[in-house]
Symmetry: C6
Subunit: 91 residues, 6 copies
């Protein structure tokens, strides 16, 4: 099962107060991309906090090209932020 | 009930004149993300000021993957602004 | 009645030639957000200059979550510009 | 008749080779906004070069809130570029 | 026939390996805008490499205001990149 | 068969843990554009990890102008990031 952008499962059991975003710094671009995916998921989970509802929506968006493209666009916007934060991981 | 992006409840009783955005500075990225959510909500509440109407719309967008993805995209755009404002919370 | 993004009423009686955007500088982030709302409205009013038509459209978009979210996204893009112009109102 | 974003009339008689974009520099933010509108129009006119077709499309988008909002978003993106080019018209 | 954003004709006979993007630098903003149009076309042609299919799609998008507006938005995003690359063609 | 943005085939057999994004640096703008295409694909493949499902979706989006335009917009956003990372490949 892919990273269900609308089912940020790992956040399910997490109390809202926990620290889920201590920093934007990552070691590598790949970790930065994973953070961008997490930020995109969180943007959905903040609006629809019911993980069950989000899971039920998965079949709908996971097989809809336009939804998948729109998700990729959100990830691209967050990745732009994370990359700038890490000065593009320039050596 | 999640952060209803279209029902910025906490603004409901607030007179329009109140100071709701004193600064873009936050202590942590997580607070910055919360501010981005608030800015996204305010963008809706500025256009549709009737909190009751916004609440009635919630069932419609909170169970629509494409609406949830679009909201996440607005949050991503504001988060990009808030992150730059805070110099990406670099130590 | 909210800030009808498609009915920039205050521009109604204003001749096109008037100076409506003397500067991007604002005292506070909140004023910056209000300017971003105004810029978003102006983007619509520049295309559909008939205030009556814009007013008639209001019921349609003001009760459509996806329209409200899309408006919030335009405001977010303009707010990003205004915030950068004001160096994020850093003290 | 508003600035028909899909009917960049003033470009109609203009040969494609003419210089329509000598510079991004403008005296004022308001002129910068007008340039952003022009760039948005040109983006459409470059794709659909037939001014008659563009004019016929006007009734369709000029009364569609979502089209008007989407146009405002394109203008916002170009305005961000023009504002940065002019260093936000800082005195 | 306009610059068919979905039919990057001039790329048709071009082997995929050719150098089509040697640089982002252009002499003038207008050439920068033309490069942004080319980059937008390439984004489509990279996904749908069959020029015949792309040509068949033209009637559909070239008379659809929302498609034309969406294309203008892609061009605006690329133009933002090209303008920054050329330091906004500041003298 | 074009770069199926929803079927990042080359990732198919790749274990999720592999390093697919060691750096954002590229020799040329054209390689930078190819990386932007790869990032856009990865944004989809991270959400819909089943390569077979992504392949089945191809006929749907590869012949839909609005899907193709939306994909080009995601590529444009990633290209903006990669170009900034490489200081626009300025000599």
């Amino acid at each position: 099962m892919g990273a269900a952008v609308l089912s940020a499962d790992e956040h399910e059991g997490q109390a809202a107060s926990d620290s889920w975003l201590p920093s934007l710094m990552t070691e590598t671009p790949q970790e930065g991309f994973a953070l961008a995916v997490k930020l995109s998921q969180k943007g959905v989970a903040t609006t629809q906090t019911d993980a069950e509802v989000r899971k039920e929506l998965r079949p709908e968006y996971a097989a809809d090209p336009n939804s998948l493209i729109a998700i990729s666009h959100v990830i691209a916007t967050h990745f732009q932020t994370v990359a700038a934060a890490n000065d593009y991981w320039r050596e």
